[in-house]
Symmetry: C2
Subunit: 147 residues, 2 copies
């Protein structure tokens, strides 16, 4: 599976904004988030744009612009982020339709669809158990670098 880092970067951005706001700041800029994640501000803006469409964050334009949470970290789960950022299903069917004249070719897609649905349901359930609040807690629990 060609894994991608979209969920990781999105969680990073949300945790960063959440901590930033708890430190008393109003809005976070894509530039600062990008510096923490060591990537390009446009990458952050693109991802946060998808989170905004899902109602997880809000953005202000003009002077003093930036991003803020639309919900508390404790009410956002990894499933919310996953659904906002990962479009397709986990496993794909055949690219071309199998031979419908063959028993296996005819029955394989309904069979796999049902099996995959169950598995993805379990995955979603697991993702829903992890809040961004817990992510931030785990982040802050990481051992400090000794001098």
């Amino acid at each position: 599976m060609s894994a991608n880092s979209r969920l990781t970067i999105a969680a990073h951005a949300l945790a960063w904004i959440g901590l930033y706001q708890r430190q008393g700041h109003e809005v976070a800029t894509s530039e600062k988030i990008a510096a923490s994640a060591n990537t390009n501000p446009v990458v952050i803006r693109r991802l946060l744009g998808e989170l905004r469409r899902a109602g997880l964050v809000e953005s202000r334009r003009g002077a003093g612009a930036g991003w803020s949470l639309a919900r508390e970290l404790g009410s956002i789960t990894l499933l919310d982020v996953y659904e906002a950022v990962e479009p397709g299903p986990l496993f794909a069917m055949h690219r071309t339709t199998p031979d419908q004249g063959c028993v296996v070719g005819h029955g394989i897609q309904p069979a796999m669809r049902g099996i995959y649905q169950d598995i993805e349901e379990t995955l979603r359930h697991e993702l829903a158990r992890v809040t961004l609040e817990k992510v931030l807690r785990d982040v802050l629990a990481a051992p400090r670098q000794p001098l």
Copy 2:
């Protein structure tokens, strides 16, 4: 997530070989399997090669060559197939290391690694619950096309 069809095609091939053998045949050729899956024989040979490395199938060369199961369908699970054909982890970390001077940048990777490990463990558990015997059963249970 850019889903791929490797697990689906591999399961298709195994179910096809299993049914073929139950019909009394010795070995299955990549050409016949490819015809059922509506793809190229080389694609099947590549995938079955990975399943052979995992000890799930065997291949014979020379005249009357082809593929056969190395284990009963009931003892092969989707997890066996998944591990044989899907190399990497489900979710990836940042492409570049985050800013270690930032609290979030420093703690995000250990945090996400732990969370992802739990989730993937659950996924593997679900995959292990489905045997290829069940896949073939579901395939054969698909409704016939009415005339």
